[in-house]
Symmetry: D2
Subunit: 383 residues, 4 copies
């Protein structure tokens, strides 16, 4: 019975912070080892990264296609690929790995078009392959606790949602046209690479997924007002949303809100209670029962749900952070890939990572938000 | 030269918490004394209140009209009236006091119709009378500090606004039809008394005014989705807003958000900085300059503006609360009425209380929000 | 039956912020009216204050003694005196009012010597007079809630106490000798006026009283290290304390801790739970049951104790502040004085204001802390 | 030139949470790989752990001594050992690895006796070996920022320190004698394994080290009151402290404070400013300049010091936690061991990990606190 996995990377060189986060997350629990990669189109960066991780020379590839084919053909080929290439390469890259029989964990957004997303889903199903779209915040322990609380009826029926993801790091772009392509963020601002949206695509989609993960609800429609401030892509978005159970709410995503670094805040209001979670303080969850005092749940305490308990790493009070959210995604993912490799059936709980359905939902959401804003915030249907 | 004022009350018996807040606020600085009143349509409650405050028997009136006429005719008649009667009586009451030459401080919302509001404005101008619409949060010291910071360019141009006023106290009304008229809040839920809106009218309008007071901006239009949950009037509202400078934002008001008591939170984002204020923690203001750490301003410290300093009461760290916000409104109001009585000119700074223009804006906002929601959140113009 | 009270002031001119706080607090509920006063040794300031409050000319007195004698002799004389003169005048002033049959509400610290304090107690008992020592924080609604929770066993037996009162406003005095007598605080730094301690006397004593009020425990002994930084009186104090039930803890008071305005924070730990209260955020109380999430109690909610409920003023979420803490002290005090005047018996609940016993305890505490520090933090017994 | 390291573990089986934290921390940056170990005295657990990490059979050892000798003799022997065995084995284990020429990273407390600690120091110096005592909180980015701020004079001279480390997890032991040896914590409560102190030794020593790391000050003396509540070792400690610059303060450590999970809070007050850091919210630092608003520094922002910037991992707002604090300790440690291996000189900055001097200080502190408490909180000298 297989006990360890090997994986490869498409993108994520030493110079991309998210590449390292994936490698640390994937290897956190000692199950998966990096064995192959095409880390960059730049041959030097590619080699540098492969060398640093002491890969076999022959498994440092110069293209994603080559890697997919050769790894797919090797007896000891990688079990899965991690795609952290720019957005515009997700679709083709995911497709070629699927075609070569390799499970895929892909950064979000999944791809540009809904049709592409559905094609990937069909292909994965045909091939019997697993596919994770890395909405990493669902890996947080207290996000899982929130989901359990909602699922178990603690807050009753969801009646209102207020969620936001605020950053300040592009505030200097305002009114500067395209002179502002700074190194760190420039690809996010380039439609050819980032797609039809910057702010909604990059962070608004995290709001959409985190709310969906916690509540089990899908969006029915959105009325969005995006602000471009003279840039090719949006920097700020205010949205009214309607869920499939009829509840309303607002989503606000912004890269120009001074004072906010990485402010994903999700508040779910129900007929019996409410929960609130902040990505910047991820180890606590604010939980209130109607008419009662707000309670501050701490990760790791005996009162959390069985699911949160089994996904816990450190004693209560010791902070877990973003790396550990990734590690949790990979913990579930690695276990699922292993089971699959060993020919075992996967239960629903074992599929507790963001799937192609989540990825498709994200693509639909981005399209609807952009379209709505073009129509001056008219409602646009998602589902 | 006149140094003290006398005032009367229309509404606000001993059983209405807001009546006491007005009386304490009006008399806080020892300038104004209660001398007349018609506190309730209920004769016993009316008498009880007048007796408690040791009023002259003849100055406890059985109707607002009688009070307006008789006080207007007395040589030692009241200088102003405080109207804290239910919403549906504001217009007629304000009108009769103006007609009898008495300055008016009226609870918000000013009245039901924009035409009424404009009539009151015209009447006050003709009579040369002062009129305050009691948007009490603008009395908070740190709200004044916020206004000064924006006015002085600290945050640059306003580009985004995120403001909310969340309460939980009506969550039990959901799905209960009109069986839920509990004592404390029932009039707010009755269209005949409260007008066309409950939630937007009662607390949404405070968002509108507080944002306007701090930023100096007016709303251009609103796209609102109100939730009624089977009640005659709204309990929850999510709104997209657009300001006259082109900035966008969201306003969220709710009486069904568990975990929130009186959660007015205003966040103003500009090109150079941001400010954030919470009514539940009113003595601090969160102030951030682009690229710099968030600063927690404390009321009463040497670094606040001259205006905040002159409106300060207690040394920094000693909390001021709602009564003191009212006291500040009355401090400015009493001083203005005194100056007027002494035939002096009033400067702009001396008119730093919410005016009829604010009141008119509030009525327009409520109408626009309700109309927009009827049109499924289509934009409705305000200005 | 008497329904209203009149009171006089010894000290507390228009230029002393605490005088106004007393007047507003005393009159908050419309029961007590200011009718006499000797507000300042400075004849002009005295007259100015009496005039502002429109007192009868003959009831503006030039000395406390004169006021005590004349008011004691008048048929319509004041029911009680409020002493907010400097510390060094408390003892003599309180004595002369008691001798003239007038109830006394006196600012803390009660006096300089334990023997004086006990003499006042004996005198008040002999005369059958009420005496309140104004430890104002015990007036806060949530401090009362904390007391109820402890009394009702919510936190079990008290096993540890951690309390502090931190300010920064004298940090500039460090190393400046006596050149630093600034206007606002200079009398606190002068042994002739303030007594043997500045920091412990002014704010440390509030820690002692607030902890005692909440827990019902008295101090057994203290081991204190006071820092003088070249000043005649202490600016900083760190103390180990032992309570009469054997529990230990620390008290820290400071006027040189940058970042703190008026940081009274009390944390009481028991075998079954814990409570935490902050003066700067007085409307909430942090309440935790062993093994459970921390709960944020809000003043005014239905879950608070009957005692907190009856002392509540505003709906939950609307902040009450320092004036309202004073108003609560006066609410209980005025009711007690009225009952006494009407010849009724007072129950224990009706004596829920800080008494001479609290005042005596405070004087003992200050002496013990100073003595301990002289002995290099050796334990000194209090009780 | 050597670019990668191998290390072994003494203690830290799969069943000990801290073992995993060390392995993840050591390997975080891809520099060091686990190659040998004696993870447990229990042969099955030892084998299980070695197998899980796919070690060579011959490098899974049955005793620390054997491991030290054999690895010391191998050409490809481990570069360093990580000691996470129980406290009572630290001294002997560290000694035997040093004797066999292997660098040592040892959990705190270093050992039981000061003489042992000094012997280890002498031995390491003679052998020219590096030695890290794992006070892990000094690895936190914002703790490093705090140290830089103090070093650069931002807060002036340190005049007062208030630091605490509060937990609740042993509150049920109170009054239960030695019947309470639960699995998770029992060894900490056993003098034979934990040494002379439980609470001060386990968490009080972290206060001592973190304060020392940030301020650069050493303790001169301590006056401590420890509470045992019927247990063999202390559960609660309140301490007055005096630093070598004459400043005073309090340290409070407790395992019986309900509501606190892992509450290490350090507040350093200086003549010009103050800083405050919380382990449970490690990504921010509260920084205040005298007379100015408190600022909330965020890890990863451009305004932090060069040192904090070079030790940063994630963009501001994405939380780093305990694993990353360990990873930072190891980042510096691995780099130092590599340089040493390559025969290069180490600068002071490159020795920015807790050293034997820190370890010695910790042992002295624990002894002084316990001795002081035996003498009823008399001062006991440390340095």
């Amino acid at each position: 019975m297989k006990k360890y996995l090997s994986y490869g990377m498409a993108g994520g060189s030493l110079h991309a912070f998210i590449g390292a986060v994936h490698r640390i997350g994937a290897g956190f629990d000692g199950i998966a080892a990096l064995k192959a990669g095409c880390f960059s189109r730049n041959p030097e960066k590619n080699q540098e990264c492969g060398d640093f991780y002491q890969l076999d020379k022959e498994r440092i590839y110069s293209s994603f296609e080559e890697m997919a084919q050769k790894e797919g053909a090797r007896e000891d080929g990688i079990d899965y690929v991690v795609i952290s290439a720019p957005n515009n390469e997700h679709y083709e890259t995911a497709k070629v790995f699927l075609q070569n029989g390799i499970h895929v964990l892909c950064e979000k957004p999944l791809c540009f078009e809904v049709s592409e997303a559905e094609e990937l889903k069909k292909l994965a199903q045909e091939k019997g392959l697993l596919f994770c779209v890395n909405y990493s915040y669902s890996g947080n322990n207290m996000v899982k606790e929130a989901r359990e609380l909602v699922k178990n009826g603690y807050i009753g029926d969801v009646i209102n949602v207020n969620a936001e993801y605020l950053q300040e790091y592009l505030v200097d772009d305002i009114g500067k046209g395209d002179q502002t392509m700074n190194k760190l963020s420039s690809w996010r601002k380039d439609p050819a690479v980032a797609g039809i949206s910057n702010c909604v695509g990059d962070i608004g989609s995290h709001i959409e997924n985190t709310v969906s993960y916690i509540t089990g609800l899908r969006l029915k429609r959105v009325a969005a007002k995006l602000d471009y401030f003279g840039q090719p892509l949006d920097l700020n978005a205010n949205m009214l949303v309607e869920f499939d159970n009829g509840a309303h709410g607002v989503f606000c995503s912004s890269q120009v809100c001074v004072g906010h670094m990485n402010g994903l805040v999700v508040r779910i209001f129900g007929t019996e209670g409410a929960i609130e979670w902040h990505e910047e303080e991820p180890n606590v969850l604010f939980v209130t029962k109607k008419g009662q005092p707000m309670q501050t749940y701490h990760r790791g305490m005996a009162y959390v749900s069985a699911r949160a308990a089994e996904m816990n790493r450190l004693p209560a009070g010791h902070p877990e952070g973003l790396y550990e959210a990734f590690a949790n995604i990979y913990k579930v993912w690695n276990a699922a890939v292993l089971k699959k490799a060993n020919g075992e059936e996967l239960t629903e709980k074992e599929l507790d990572f963001p799937t192609l359905d989540d990825g498709i939902e994200g693509v639909k959401f981005i399209h609807a938000a952009v379209e709505s804003s073009k129509k001056d915030a008219a409602w646009v249907d998602i589902n």
